[in-house]
Amino acid sequence: MPSADTPAAARPLLRIQGLHKRFGATEILKGVDLDVHRGEVVSIIGSSGSGKTTLLRCVNLLEEFEGGEVVLDGEAVGYRRSGDKRIRLKDRELARQRAMTGMVFQSFNLFPHLSAAGNVMLGLRKVRGMGRAEARAVAERWLGRVGLAERADHAPSQLSGGQQQRVAIARALAMEPKLVLLDEITSALDPELVGEVLATVKALAVEGATLLLVTHEMRFARDVSNTVVFMEKGLVAEQGPPKAVFGAPKHPRLVEFLRGTRDR
């Protein structure tokens, strides 16, 4: 455990320790440990049902979890301790902690009643408390960075899947989160639209954003990550730099998994 006087730069931005999560009788996460450092890009790979998405959702407090700790920038999120009891934080606290992370979803989840700019502006105005003009300027800057400056006033339904996902990235990034969570963000896209979204994420990585992503795009994970994490049956089975994980996998399930995805 880092003590309180550990300099902020030395301790990990995100520390997950012993994370346990169950849905009814099924244990999805069985004690996950994972560190993400500032400016690092960490990709989680693994087969369906290994708990990758659930792990991201726990970090963003969209799921409750029964055991373990998620510490973001030195602050335990989701729960506080009272004696030996864990107590779920109140809505207002959860909302404040969620605003420290940005999340991009597999199914985009843009707000259909708002324009592209309106989607980006909502959090800026209602969470960050910006005025309309300021929020609009920030939204336009971010839409420009994902290559959609001309689409600011389009409704989500008027955009392609790839464009919608780029708006969703702008929506998450405009809030200047400490950590960005990307949950299989290309899985719902037509193959020819995957490239534009991955290029956007790659640009963010180059600029030093801290990213924790779940992906099925092995080549992308290899190109963009500092660390690749292989999850299997609710545990981190192997992790390391992409060269080691892809080049010299040790865990037998990882070897098998990579053989199955070799053509990706």
């Binding site: 969209l62 809505d91 959860l94 707000f111 009643h113 409704a155 998450a172």
Partner: protein
């Protein structure tokens, strides 16, 4: 025909007065019922178990009871408790409770039809529960909610006639009083029917215009 026109002209103030009563009863009960119904709908979807049970019981009892019974109950029951409600207030209370139950179900359905991802994305941005509700869920619910809401408004105008039995001088009671004087039964009931038709047609048209305005582009 001449006789009817003369009688109708003589009764014009009474008819307009009745119409105004009908309109204010309907408008009040729709307004209050919508506020109540929104709260009930939100409670049904997002409330904790006790709140959900209360909202569910309220909605089921109100929807399962004839409106006429509600009107009579609202008029007679408070006086048993020593509370005296004017017929107008009692009637509006009954219609509001009835309206709130129906709109509660409409709001519940509209909220449940919104994909889960919407509230998750809104939470992920850092909005609190009320922020999510106010800025993301209710604006989207509004679109699927409008057509059945307009229907309910029309039903409320029609249900306002039931207040005639507790002596509220709305359009139907006034019409009956006029007929009591001149015995032009068929003519004056037709006239009243035509007025209700015009009111409800106007609501229908206004509703359609509103639907077009809030539709997704």
């Amino acid at each position: 025909m001449d006789e009817f026109l003369t009688e109708a002209w003589d009764a014009r103030d009474v008819i307009v007065g009745g119409l105004l009563q009908t309109l204010s009863i309907s408008a009040l009960s729709i307004l209050l019922g919508t506020a109540l119904g929104t709260a009930v709908g939100v409670g049904l979807v997002y409330g904790g178990l006790p709140l959900r049970l209360v909202a569910r019981a309220y909605a089921d009892v109100m929807r399962g009871t004839p409106v006429l019974v509600l009107v009579l109950a609202a008029f007679y029951m408070p006086s048993v408790l020593g509370l005296h409600l004017q017929p107008f207030s009692a009637g509006v209370l009954a219609l509001t409770l009835f309206c709130g139950a129906h709109i509660g179900e409409i709001v519940r359905g509209a909220l449940q039809a919104i994909p889960r991802g919407q509230s998750e994305a809104a939470k992920a941005v850092g909005l609190t529960f009320y922020g999510v509700l106010l800025h993301v869920l209710l604006p989207q619910a509004l679109r699927s909610l409008l057509p059945p809401w307009i229907n309910t408004c029309v039903e409320m105008v029609k249900a306002s006639t039931l207040l005639s039995v507790i002596g509220v001088g709305e359009l139907l009671l006034r019409t009956q009083e006029i007929i009591g004087r001149n015995f032009l039964t068929l003519q004056f009931y037709l006239l009243a029917g035509a007025v209700y038709l015009v009111v409800n047609f106007a609501i229908e048209r206004a509703g359609k215009a509103l639907e077009r305005r809030v539709a997704f582009r």
